[in-house]
C-alpha cells in the first residue's frame, strides 16, 4: 500500500470464504499524519460513561454480549467480536454492510443475519424494551 491522497477507499473480500463473502466490505481511510494522530488519541480514551443509559448498559453487561465484545472501563472484555468502546466513531457496521444508524444498529442486534447472512453473531432475542435500551447505550459510545 502506498497511498498518495487522503480519503475513503472501498475494497471487498476477494477470496470466497463462505456465506458472508459478498458482504465482507472494506473501507480504507487514508489520513494526514495529524488527523491520524488525533484519531489514535480519540480511540485510546476510555468509553464515555453516560448515566442516562444505565438500563441499556445493564442489559449489555448481563447478556452474552460481553463474551465477545469489549467496552473499556466496564466488565465487557470479550475479544472475539469488535471492540465497541468507540462504536459511534465508525461510519458503518458489519464491515461495511450497513450504515451506522440507530435503525440499522437495532436491526443488527435483533438479528444480524437480516443484514449480513452468515454472520457469526447470534440473534440476541431481546425484548423490544431491552433492545431499545441497548441501542441507546450503544449510541453513547462515541
Amino acid at each position: 500500500m502506498d497511498p498518495h491522497r487522503t480519503g475513503i477507499f472501498l475494497g471487498q473480500c476477494a477470496q470466497y470464504c463462505g456465506v458472508q463473502h459478498a458482504k465482507m466490505l472494506l473501507r480504507i481511510s487514508v489520513d494526514s499524519p495529524e488527523d491520524f494522530a488525533a484519531w489514535v488519541h480519540g480511540q485510546q480514551q476510555p468509553a464515555v460513561q453516560d448515566a442516562s443509559v444505565e438500563t441499556g448498559r445493564r442489559v449489555f453487561e448481563s447478556t452474552a454480549c460481553i463474551n465477545c465484545h469489549a467496552v473499556s472501563g466496564t466488565n465487557a472484555n470479550g475479544r472475539f467480536g469488535p471492540d465497541l468502546t468507540h462504536l459511534m466513531s465508525r461510519a458503518t457496521i458489519a464491515s461495511g454492510a450497513a450504515p451506522n444508524t440507530r435503525e440499522k444498529l437495532r436491526l443488527w442486534i435483533q438479528d444480524p443475519n437480516k443484514i449480513k447472512p452468515g454472520s457469526l453473531m447470534p440473534a440476541m432475542q431481546l425484548s423490544d424494551a431491552d433492545l431499545d435500551a441497548v441501542v441507546s447505550y450503544m449510541e453513547t459510545l462515541r
Partner: protein, 564 residues
C-alpha cells in the same frame, strides 16, 4: 441369427430408432446399458454431457438473474453458493470432459481404421464410473443434509479451498458428495485415457504410421497423456481431504501444522493442465473441420503435432499462476509468469496454422465452419487476456475478479463450447445418418454469438472496476449495475440459441435430410463407411498410404501418397 446377418450388411444401422421396431424396448435398454461398443459408449457420453449442459446452463441462468440488480434476492446466499459450485463442477467434470471423451471414443477408432477401442470393457466401466460421479454430485441434493440440516449441495466453490472444506466450516455431507463424485469420475477419466492411448498406439490400420494419423487422433493422444498426469494428483488430494474430514488427518489444517496452500498446489497442478485437457480435443476438431471446409489439407501438420506435444509439456508447469495472490517468492512468481507466457507460443502457432489452412482456400461457410471461425477469434482474445493475467503484478490486481471469470468463460464457452458445437454439426450426420438443419444452425450460431459477446465481452469491465467473483449480491453505485443487467440479457440470448440447437438435434433426428456416407466430401476414414457406421466399423480393415486416405480413393489420378 437373423439379426446378426442384418448387421453384416453394409447398410446395417445400430442406432435404436431402427431396432425399436424389431425388439421390445427392454431389450434395447439392456443393449445400451451393457454395450461395450465404442460408438454407443461415445453416444452415451455425449448425451449424458448434453443433459448436464442443460442442467448447469440453467444454474448459470439463475446465477445471472440473481446478479441482474444490486441487492436482488431471487435466491438466498446459501443457494447462490451452491449454484456456482454446482455450475462450475458440473461444467468441467460432467459436461466438458465427458463430451470430449465421447467424441474421442466415437471417432478415434473410426479414424485410425480400428474396429473398437483397445479395451472395450474398460471403456464401458469408465463411462459408468463417470456417470456414477455425476449422479453422486446431484444426489447430494437428497443425501447431503445428514443429521445436521447443514445444506443440501456442495457450496465450497469448484476449487473447494481449505479450510472451507474442513468439517467445522462445511458440516453435513455436501463436501463429501463433491469429493466422492470427483474421485469416482476421476477413475473413469483415467480408465478412458489409458484406453485412448492403447488404442492409438496399438490398433492403427496398416499403413497408418504415426505421422499419417489424423490430427484428431494425435491431439487426443496428448490429451490422454495429460489426463494420466493431472487427474492422479486430484484424486490423491480428494483422498487426503476425506482423511482430513473423517480420519483425523491434518493435511490441509493450518492450525494443526498442515497447509491450506498444499491443497491449492494439488488442485491447480490438476486444474491448469485440465484447461488444456479440455481445449486440446477442441483443437483436434478445428484441425479436422477447417481443412475440409477450406478444401485444403491442413497447413503444417508436423508443426501442429509438435506444438501440441509442446503444450502438453509446458502446460504442466504453469499451475501456480492461479496462486500469485498467495504470496509466493519472486522466483516462483517469475517462473510461473514466464512459463504461462511461453505456453502461448505453441498455441499461437496453432492459430497461425489454421489461418494458413484457410488462406487461399475455397472456404465453404457451412454451420460447422462458422462455429470454427468464431472459435478462432474468441480463443485468440481469451489467450490475450490469459497473457495479461500471466503477469503477476497485473494478476495481483485482478485475481478473483470478474475479469478472470470473463477470461476463462471466453476460453471455455467461446473456445470449447463453440468447438463442440462445430463438432456436433460436423459429425452428427455420421452418428445419426441425418444432416442437421442448416437454417436452424445459422440461427443458433448468430444468436449464440451475439449472446456470448454481450455476456462475456462486457463481463470484463465490472472485473476491471473491482467486482469480485462468487458474490451473491453487490452494493449499488459502483458502476457495476448496468453492465450486470446487460450480461444477464446476453446469457438469456445464449439460452435461446441453445434451445434452437436442441430443437435442431431432435427434429433432424426424425426429419433431417439423409446424410449418406460422406456429406462433406471429407478425407478421413470415418467417412468411408455408412452413416451411422455398422457395429464392426469396417467390413475389411482399410490400408492407407497418406494422411488423407479418402482423397486418394476419390482422386486416384493425383493421390496425396505421391507427395508424402
Amino acid at each position: 441369427m437373423r439379426k446378426w446377418k442384418t448387421n453384416m450388411s453394409s447398410n446395417a444401422i445400430t442406432i435404436p430408432g431402427v431396432q425399436i421396431d424389431e425388439k421390445p424396448w427392454v431389450d434395447t435398454l439392456h443393449g445400451w446399458l451393457t454395450t461395450v461398443d465404442h460408438k454407443r459408449l461415445g453416444i452415451l457420453y455425449i448425451v449424458y454431457a448434453l443433459l448436464f449442459l442443460v442442467v448447469a446452463g440453467v444454474e448459470a441462468l439463475i446465477i445471472r438473474i440473481q446478479l441482474m440488480y444490486p441487492h436482488n434476492d431471487f435466491v438466498s446466499p446459501q443457494v447462490f453458493n451452491r449454484l456456482f459450485t454446482m455450475h462450475g463442477t458440473t461444467m468441467v467434470f460432467f459436461v466438458g470432459m465427458p463430451i470430449l471423451f465421447g467424441f474421442a471414443n466415437y471417432l478415434v477408432p473410426l479414424m485410425i481404421g480400428a474396429r473398437d477401442m483397445a479395451f472395450p470393457r474398460l471403456n464401458a466401466f469408465s463411462f459408468w464410473l463417470s456417470a456414477l460421479g455425476g449422479f453422486l454430485l446431484y444426489f447430494s441434493l437428497v443425501g447431503a443434509n445428514g443429521l445436521y440440516g447443514a445444506g443440501n449441495a456442495p457450496d465450497v466453490g469448484w476449487w473447494a479451498y481449505a479450510p472451507l472444506t474442513a468439517r467445522a466450516f462445511s458440516p453435513g455431507h455436501s463436501s463429501d458428495y463433491w469429493t466422492l463424485s470427483l474421485l469416482v469420475s476421476g477413475f473413469g477419466s483415467i480408465g478412458t485415457a489409458i484406453n485412448i492411448i492403447a488404442t492409438i498406439l496399438c490398433l492403427r490400420c496398416p499403413g497408418m504410421k504415426l505421422n499419417r494419423m489424423p490430427l484428431l487422433a494425435w491431439l487426443n493422444l496428448v490429451m490422454s497423456g495429460m489426463v494420466l498426469v493431472t487427474i492422479t494428483p486430484l484424486s490423491a488430494a480428494q483422498i487426503m481431504l476425506l482423511v482430513d474430514r473423517y480420519l483425523g488427518g491434518h493435511f490441509f489444517d493450518a492450525q494443526a501444522g498442515g497447509s491450506a496452500v498444499l491443497w491449492m498446489h494439488f488442485f491447480w497442478i490438476f486444474g491448469h493442465p485440465e484447461v488444456y485437457v479440455l481445449i486440446i480435443p477442441c483443437f483436434a476438431f478445428m484441425s479436422e473441420i477447417i481443412p475440409v471446409f477450406s478444401r485444403k489439407p491442413i497447413f503444417g501438420y508436423p508443426v501442429m503435432v509438435a506444438a501440441t506435444v509442446c503444450i502438453g509439456f509446458v502446460s504442466m508447469s504453469v499451475w501456480a499462476h492461479h496462486m500469485f495472490t498467495v504470496g509466493m517468492n519472486s522466483y516462483a512468481n517469475s517462473f510461473f509468469t514466464i512459463t504461462t507466457m511461453a505456453v502461448g507460443v505453441p498455441t499461437g502457432i496453432k492459430i497461425f496454422n489454421w489461418l494458413g489452412t484457410m488462406w487461399g482456400g475455397k472456404i465453404q461457410f457451412k454451420t460447422p465452419m462458422i462455429f470454427c471461425i468464431g472459435f478462432l477469434f474468441q480463443f485468440l482474445i481469451a489467450g490475450l487476456t490469459g497473457i495479461m493475467l500471466a503477469a503477476a503484478p497485473f494478476d495481483w490486481q485482478l485475481s478473483l475478479s470478474y475479469f478472470v471469470v470473463a477470461h476463462f468463460h471466453y476460453t471455455l464457452v467461446g473456445g470449447v463450447l463453440f468447438a463442440v458445437f462445430a463438432a456436433i454439426y460436423y459429425w452428427y450426420p455420421k452418428i445419426t445418418g441425418r444432416m442437421l438443419n442448416e437454417t436452424l444452425g445459422k440461427w443458433h450460431f448468430w444468436l449464440f454469438l451475439i449472446g456470448f459477446h454481450l455476456t462475456f465481452d462486457l463481463m470484463h469491465i465490472p472485473g476491471l472496476l473491482g467486482m469480485p467473483r462468487r458474490i451473491y449480491t453487490y452494493e449499488p453505485g459502483r458502476g457495476w449495475d448496468t453492465l450486470n443487467l446487460l450480461v444477464t440479457i446476453g446469457a438469456f440470448i445464449q439460452a435461446i440459441g441453445t434451445l434452437l440447437f436442441v430443437a435442431n438435434m431432435v427434429i433432424s433426428y426424425f426429419e433431417g435430410v439423409k446424410a449418406g456416407n460422406d456429406p462433406w466430401d471429407a478425407w478421413t476414414l470415418e467417412w468411408s463407411i455408412s452413416s451411422p457406421p455398422p457395429a464392426y466399423n469396417f467390413a475389411s480393415i482399410p490400408v492407407v498410404a497418406s494422411r488423407r486416405p479418402l482423397w486418394d480413393l476419390k482422386h486416384p489420378e493425383d493421390p496425396d501418397s505421391r507427395y508424402e
